[in-house]
């Protein structure tokens, strides 16, 4: 990664539809260079894909929330659930409408599902649907309405792209 890569990333995170020709002009390289750098960053795993951020409220989602899920174990309550138990819950969650993101976790909970809720009634309905998935033992729910963007994963971009800078700033 060099300054050209960072410059390309900056422009594309601002608007992923910017043409390579325009970026090339701004950065001062050829369009072919921009293209090959972009493809190289995709191949190396720096760029996963391009996407659009939508405002959930305009399509009727009034709140986002996370469901922190405990999976039950067949071997007593103090043990970790077996991987096959959490993966069947994971698969069921990925097929549940309004569940946007599903993460398998290690720690105080076993799975975290990020959901969109139209209203309180919808949130309760989602809770009921998820609670019925076989293997789900306990759910802790938190939700919020002060959000700006979806997917919020894109929150990391600027920080990550400039991570070197931040490291230098933080070092004593």
């Amino acid at each position: 990664m060099d300054e050209i890569d960072v410059a390309i990333l900056e422009r594309l995170t601002e608007d992923a539809r910017t043409s390579f020709r325009k970026i090339a002009k701004e950065v001062g390289v050829s369009p072919d260079t921009v293209m090959s750098r972009y493809l190289a960053m995709q191949k190396s795993g720096h760029i996963l894909s391009s996407t659009i951020i939508i405002e959930p409220r305009t399509i009727g989602y009034q709140a986002l929330g996370i469901f922190m899920i405990h999976a039950s174990t067949s071997r007593g309550s103090n043990k970790e659930p077996a991987p096959q138990d959490t993966s069947s819950i994971f698969n069921a969650l990925t097929r549940t409408p309004s569940v946007f993101e599903v993460a398998r976790t290690v720690g105080d909970h076993d799975l975290i599902a990020t959901v969109g809720a139209r209203d309180l009634e919808h949130l309760i309905k989602l809770r009921n649907i998820i609670a019925k998935i076989p293997g789900v033992k306990d759910i802790q729910i938190s939700y919020w309405t002060e959000f700006t963007e979806f997917p919020e994963l894109c929150r990391h971009q600027e920080h990550i792209i400039h991570s070197k800078e931040i490291e230098t700033n933080n070092s004593p």
């Binding site: 539809r17 391009s50 659009i52 009727g60 599903v102 894109c154 971009q157 990550i160």
Partner: protein, 182 residues
């Protein structure tokens, strides 16, 4: 330097009026889904697969941006690719008189990528990404040692970043059907 994507929760945007719901038809949805999977898809390709003209797609796209459904087209960047291998979710319960203070200090931490006030079991939900486990452990310690923090739940994400399921997004115009079926 701290994420501009992070600033909206209590800051500049909260005084704005709630975005109003808008009418989105099937073509709009198809355009949104195509661009969610690849924001660089050409309008010509989308037009072909939807059986409309490129001009129509372009017009629809501009409208969706204008009315605020599409905020922006952006890159999905891999934490892991940049060395941020560790991503943890925090659920934090803070005594109310100190809630804003704890929230503000969390938001200012550069490794804290997402932070919101929430209702429910925890009144702060945060995500932090780091290059090593030690700085995550330090972060947790720091939060836990705050006298107003009553409870901290921490979960390491196994897959970084976790998968997103765009197809599960339901547009309001279709939701009535789902409610009947459900």
């Amino acid at each position: 330097m701290i994420c501009k994507f992070n600033g909206g929760h209590l800051g500049a945007r909260s005084h704005l009026t709630m975005p109003s719901r808008v009418r989105i038809d099937e073509l709009d949805q198809k355009i949104i889904r195509a661009l969610q999977n690849d924001a660089r898809t050409s309008f010509t390709d989308i037009a072909k697969s939807c059986g409309v003209s490129t001009d129509t797609v372009s017009k629809r796209f501009r409208r969706l941006r204008r009315i605020g459904v599409i905020v922006r087209a952006t890159l999905w960047i891999s934490n892991k690719g940049f060395g941020f291998e560790h991503l943890a979710n925090f659920g934090i319960r803070v005594e109310y008189p100190h809630l804003e203070e704890v929230f503000d200090s969390l938001r200012r931490m550069p490794q804290c990528h997402f932070c919101t006030l929430s209702m429910g079991r925890y009144n702060i939900i945060a995500y932090a990404a780091t290059k090593d486990l030690e700085s995550l452990a330090r972060l947790k310690e720091q939060v836990e040692n705050h006298p107003a923090v009553r409870e901290v739940a921490m979960n390491f994400l196994i897959d970084v970043p976790p998968p997103i399921f765009f197809d599960n997004i339901e547009f309001e115009c279709n939701s009535k059907k789902w409610e009947r079926d459900g």
